[in-house]
Amino acid sequence: MTTQTVWRKPPFIKSPAVRWVFYIAVAAYVIGTIATLPIDWERTAQGLTRAQRIFSGAFPPSFERSGLLISGFMESLKIAILATTLGMILSVPLAFMAARNISPKPVYLLGRGTFILARSFHPVIVAIIFVKAVGFGPLAGALTLTVYSIGFVAKLLAERIEEIDFGQVEAMRSVGASFFSTMVYAILPQIMPRLVGLGIYQLDSNLRASAVVGIVGAGGIGATLANAFGRYDYDFALAITMVIVGAILISEAVSGMIRKRMT
């Protein structure tokens, strides 16, 4: 008997034809796209000198107009708080609507459709629409982040409701409780911890997002940043960015700590 002296690792895609077609397709896509991207090479080539100018203009960061910075940041905070509150209030009924185990089919589809729609659009797009509808300023920001909160909180809350122990609901129904007291006694206690956790998480995440939606005019520190950029105040822009990053790190740490202590 002769023993084998050749061994090859079995390829991930068994059929060689399919494998090569796949490789060639990927390579063609990558090369094709990179080659046909409408890139203005001349403009890009100037990038380095431009970057140097920007960075030398940005250092040292300027905190001279810290009043503007603080008021922008406080506005972001208020937007985040209000949007979180409103978002949570709206998310609870929506989540009940979108839970398969307690809602009739049409209501379920309506609820689910609402937050799929809310999730699909990036907050910046939502913001730009709201800015056009209700004008520049924190109101557009708060509305945007409310939509953003609904998309996230309602979805996760609905999933939590679908996971509940349904026996408790049956028990309440069997003692003749009304629909509303069934909700309060059998479902709310089961989803309450998740609701509070989501609220804290969402506050953190709204604070981040409020820095961004401001760039398209929806108030808060993002608006301050966009203005600084627009007027080539790169030193002030750097100061703002540093404050945003610091605030995000702090809020992430705080929300993480609270959620850890709660569970």
């Binding site: 990558v30 409408p38 431009r50 920007i54 905070l77 937007i79 910046v124 109101l139 960015t241 995000i248």
Partner: protein, 265 residues
Amino acid sequence: MTQTLTHEWARFTPVQRMKRYVALMAVTLVVVWALGSIDVIWEWVWDAPIQLVDLFARMVPPDPTNLPSILEATWQTINIATIATMIAVVLSLPVAYISAQNTTPNVVCLWIGRFILVSSRSVNTIIWALLFVAIFGPGIIAGIIAIMFRSIGFLGKLLGEAIEEIDHAPIEALEACGASRFKVVMYGIVPQVMPAFFAISILRWDINLRESTVLGLVGAGGIGIILQGAIDTFQWQEVSMVLLTILALVIAGEVISSTMRKKLL
């Protein structure tokens, strides 16, 4: 039965109740403070629903005359997301390697890695885009680099965590065979983090697809440019067409990424 009437029952002990009241009060106070001091014109707030309905009315029906250029911009958006994800995946590998506690060569590397992760993650894509538009001028390259910069932090962090969770036993066996560091990584670590690697990359691609749709609003290429143009010229029916396209794109992205996840893992 009558005895039970003498029993008092309350859901919470007094201390518990106090804590709950204090927490509730604090939350209410904060909300009232925010509501009271925020700089909005309240007439506008009451007016907002009417304005929204009005805007929506101007959007229907969507106007498809510009569809070819919208679709072209959509294709560009997909390319920005895909190319940027590919490059970011490659660049995030060494970052993940040096910022995972069990593979980092030394403490200096660990801190460099963590610094890269934190700075990349804390700055939003749009802010990165703002910066790169200022550097490279408006266009696709600023968009790709912005998405890339944000993705490195995300990918590197999650991949680093995956590396930290691997089973150490096979590593010990490979070391006992006299394998070099690089070979240990290739045979012991790479196969173990492979599933996480694919899952994280696909997830980030899905996120990047959404983020690419807004890059145009700060001038960094893709469908956002058309959206911005239509909004600026008040062509609301074209705006709604663009929004529908974005919706289709995002949903398609979600479907593709979930099928890929199922296929690969």
